[in-house]
């Protein structure tokens, strides 16, 4: 199942090594005993993914706290 983090495609960031603009793609993120597949901006060539600040400090933090209390 893909968890939607509500990230919209943006054309701001590019992968410096591949010189490619990031595009939304499926990425697996893990913490403790939890594993999720989410859509994150990624380099279409090397797959390097970006976690935007508002996601790191918002949704992701919430999930981290939930998993820590499991």
């Amino acid at each position: 199942m893909i968890t939607n983090l509500g990230i919209e495609e943006n054309k701001e960031w590019k992968c410096l090594a591949c010189d490619e603009l990031l595009k939304l793609d499926k990425v697996r993120i893990d913490y403790m005993n939890g594993s999720f597949t989410v859509m994150l901006p990624c380099c279409p060539m090397c797959g390097m993914a970006l976690v935007p600040e508002e996601i790191a400090l918002g949704k992701m933090l919430e999930v981290e706290k939930l998993l820590e209390d499991k």
Partner: protein, 773 residues
């Protein structure tokens, strides 16, 4: 302080929970309830009356009062004598309120009948004690036969002016509904005969005069109401005037009915009944701030209260509670309960098999400051409970990693080569004393460490060595016993290496740790030592404005340190005032017990409450307290700010800015380098690190997010090395990430002349698994 092992092998047992719970008296009955032989919930009743909710008030009476329509009109309300309002305008007129209530139409009250039991009970007498015994037994599901001597049930109730025949008949009607059998006592019938003829137990109501002959002058036991003949019970005992009050009739009938049930069940008649009947309550209610308010007098004395008057009278109720600890601890308020409730939540948290550990945040947010125990009439210690719960979580690998990770890493840093240092005084071969400034003072003000050390060597004892390392307090507070043991061992090893010196400690948390875990080591507080020395001439004296002393919570039971600090302040002619919560009642700054690590928002609340206690500037003698209080925008000086003032700060030593987290680490590294160079003439290899250009706004964000400069440097170095970085097509900024441990750091930056300009940084704990789908 002894720490009771509340959790045995990972689980707190029920019995320990009960012991812990019992120390919190908040749930004890208020004085009115415990004074009532029937334990009517007077407090709730009066609250409901005050809200004008008479139906609810009726239901409260009905819960505990047998025949409430009768007893509500004739009870002698001993609760009024016990009422704490008594000395503040007169006790609540409970008798009048009760009458007012039972004069209102009775609401429908649903009761669930108990399953019928195969035992029959005989009840002798038609007066109130017999009727209550019969009612209680019927409600428990027993078959009951009442043997009367006169025609009517109710006996002397019929002679009472307060009761009409209609009320008596209506109230006693419940007996009929429950299936009571009534028989006229035959002369041939005796007690033994009843027991032989199918009755399992017999109650004799001594408030029915004709019953007296049945007991042959024997008085029943006053706790269980048993007579010497097995299965025979008696109550309704007349007093020396030959009368018995209705409330006592009801109580004795009820208590005897319970004994009869226990008798047929074959269980102990006496066990666990100490709180039956009136008893002195353990509930403490502070009446210091209660203003007198006179009892409401009914406008029409004959008619009694009107509904409005009754309501007004009920609103005078103090609503007795303890909650003393909540008055001084914002943390205990924050979780919407009180210690007894928290103990249960922590117990459930420890014993839960599936689902979320919902009390983790609560038990990790306590500052372990011990103020609640100091205030508590029952000696409840939230600190002991929370610390043991943390140890249990760590042991079972259930402790949330984010709760204390930063503090434990900071401890590891202080115990690494970057800070740790053991030295005898220059050109000396032994140390009779050793100065131990602790991590926080070193991080907050390294100059003060150097100045204090020089002062001690010159004014106290030439053979004073220096020990820079961590006292293990973060490990202790986090409940990580393994890390605590390691750090304590390291501390002892250092002390041995230094030749077992007498330790001089600048920080009271370090003092607490030494006394707790290394009692073999002789320790003194820096302040006790300084108080015996001539203070430096350069000290800042006669501060113009008054200030209040904030005692660190770890000095709570260290009156010697508190006295020494006040004595030094006096010598410096500082105009000192006392906070209401000072000395043994001092309040934590929000850093203690790693509250700030586990729950920054709670720590801010705690800090704000402390800061708002006085408009005056603060003076303290703990580096961490200074950092916290100053961080809340309060002008706060450390005592050393007055003893070794910076020329630039002489006018306002309390204005020195808070030192952030990265700065604290840099200060510790710099302290080691500087002190080695200045005092021991040793030069450390200089570090060459890129400079980070960080605006104050960004730096504040970094401190909040606990992102250190070293994390930022590591992330940029990692990006440069791996080539994995992103660039904004809008701003041209670079963005890189790095996961050196369980945290992923993101840094947005641009290269600058000699380093990097940092625009932003954030972190998360979830790990990107990397592969492209």
């Amino acid at each position: 302080m002894a720490e009771p092992p509340l959790f045995h092998g990972g689980e707190m047992d029920q019995q320990t929970l009960r012991q812990v719970e019992k120390q919190c008296i908040q749930e004890e009955a208020p004085a009115c309830r415990s004074a009532c032989p029937l334990h009517v919930d007077v407090r709730t009743f009066v609250q409901k009356a005050g809200q004008g909710k008479w139906n609810d008030a009726w239901k409260i009476l009905d819960k505990t009062l047998p025949f409430p329509g009768i007893l509500g009109r004739i009870c002698h309300h001993p609760c009024e004598d016990a009422c704490l309002r008594k000395d503040f305008g007169g006790s609540i007129a409970m008798g009048a309120l009760e009458k007012m209530c039972v004069n209102q139409p009775k609401p429908r009250i649903r009761t669930i009948p108990m399953p019928k039991k195969d035992y029959s009970m005989a009840v002798m007498g038609e007066n109130l004690s017999s009727l209550v015994a019969a009612l209680e037994l019927l409600r428990k599901g027993y078959g009951v036969t009442v043997f009367t001597f006169r025609d009517r049930l109710g006996g002397s109730l019929w002679d009472m002016r307060a009761l009409s025949g209609e009320i008596i008949e209506k109230e006693l009607g419940v007996l009929d509904n429950l299936g009571l059998k009534v028989e006229k006592k035959q002369d041939s019938l005796d007690i033994s005969g009843l027991l032989e003829n199918g009755f399992s137990a017999v109650y004799i109501g001594l408030d029915t005069r004709d019953c007296e002959a049945l007991v042959l002058n024997e008085a029943p036991d006053l706790k269980t109401f048993t007579l010497s003949q097995r299965g025979v019970f008696a109550g309704g005992i007349p007093d020396e005037t030959g009368r018995v009050l209705p409330l006592h009739q009801a109580f004795q009938g009820r208590a005897a009915a319970l004994s009869m049930e226990r008798f047929v069940q074959g269980v102990s008649l006496a066990e666990g009944r100490q709180d039956e009947g009136p008893y002195p309550t353990r509930l403490f209610t502070n009446t210091a701030d209660i203003a007198p308010l006179p009892r409401v007098v009914p406008a029409n004395a004959k008619e009694g209260y009107t509904i409005d008057e009754a309501r007004k009278e009920a609103l005078r109720c103090i609503n007795c509670q303890c909650l003393e600890c909540l008055k001084v601890c914002p943390y205990l308020v924050h979780y919407n309960g009180y210690p007894k409730k928290y103990a249960r939540e922590i117990y459930n948290n420890a014993t839960i098999v599936m689902g979320n550990h919902t009390a983790n945040a609560m038990l990790n947010s306590c500052s372990l400051c011990g103020l609640c125990q100091e205030i508590c009439p029952g000696d409840f210690s939230m600190a002991d409970l929370c610390l043991d719960a943390r140890r249990d979580l760590v042991q079972r690998k259930k402790m949330p990693p984010s709760a204390h990770e930063f503090a434990l890493q900071d401890m590891a840093f202080s115990n690494s080569d970057q800070f740790m240092l053991l030295r005898h005084a220059p050109d000396r071969e032994k140390s009779r004393f050793a100065f131990f400034p602790g991590c926080q003072l070193a991080g907050s003000n390294p100059e003060h460490v150097i100045q204090t050390y020089l002062f001690l060597m010159n004014n106290w004892e030439k053979d004073t060595g220096l020990m820079l390392q961590c006292c293990a307090a973060p490990a202790h507070w986090s409940g990580n016993e393994e890390k605590n043991r390691e750090a304590i061992l390291l501390l002892e090893e250092s002390w041995q290496k230094m030749g077992r010196p007498h330790m001089i400690l600048a920080c009271s948390s370090c003092m607490d740790m030494f006394k707790r875990y290394l009692p073999q080591i002789t320790v003194s507080s820096l302040w006790e030592i300084m108080d015996q020395c001539q203070l430096p001439d350069t000290a800042c004296k006669k501060a113009g404005h008054p200030m209040v002393i904030h005692d660190p919570c770890t000095t709570r039971h260290e009156s010697g340190i508190q006295d020494a600090v006040r004595s030094i302040a006096l010598k410096l002619e500082l105009p000192i005032k006392e906070l209401e919560l000072s000395r043994e009642k001092t309040q934590c700054c929000g850093f203690g017990g790693l509250m700030e690590n586990a729950n920054p928002a709670m720590a801010r609340k705690q800090l704000e409450q402390r800061v708002n206690e006085s408009q005056l500037d603060f003076l303290t003698y703990c580096a961490m307290c200074r950092e916290s209080l100053r961080g809340a925008g309060k002008s706060t000086a450390h005592l050393l700010d007055y003893i070794f003032p910076r020329e630039t700060d002489r006018d306002a030593p309390g204005a020195r800015e808070k030192v952030g987290l990265s700065h604290s680490r840099d200060n510790r590294v710099r302290l080691k380098e500087t002190i080695l160079e200045e005092i021991w003439k040793e030069t450390l290899k200089t570090r060459s690190e890129p400079t980070l250009f960080i605006s104050p706004d960004v730096q504040e964000k970094l401190d909040q997010r606990r992102i250190l400069h070293q994390d930022i440097r590591a992330t940029i170095a990692h990006a440069n090395q791996s080539g994995r970085q992103m660039q904004s097509t809008v701003t041209g900024h670079f963005l890189a990430c790095h996961r050196p441990f369980m945290v992923t750091f993101w840094v947005e930056y641009t290269p600058a002349d000699t380093g990097y300009t940092i625009h932003n940084s954030y972190c998360h704990r979830m790990q990107i698994m990397g592969e492209k789908s």
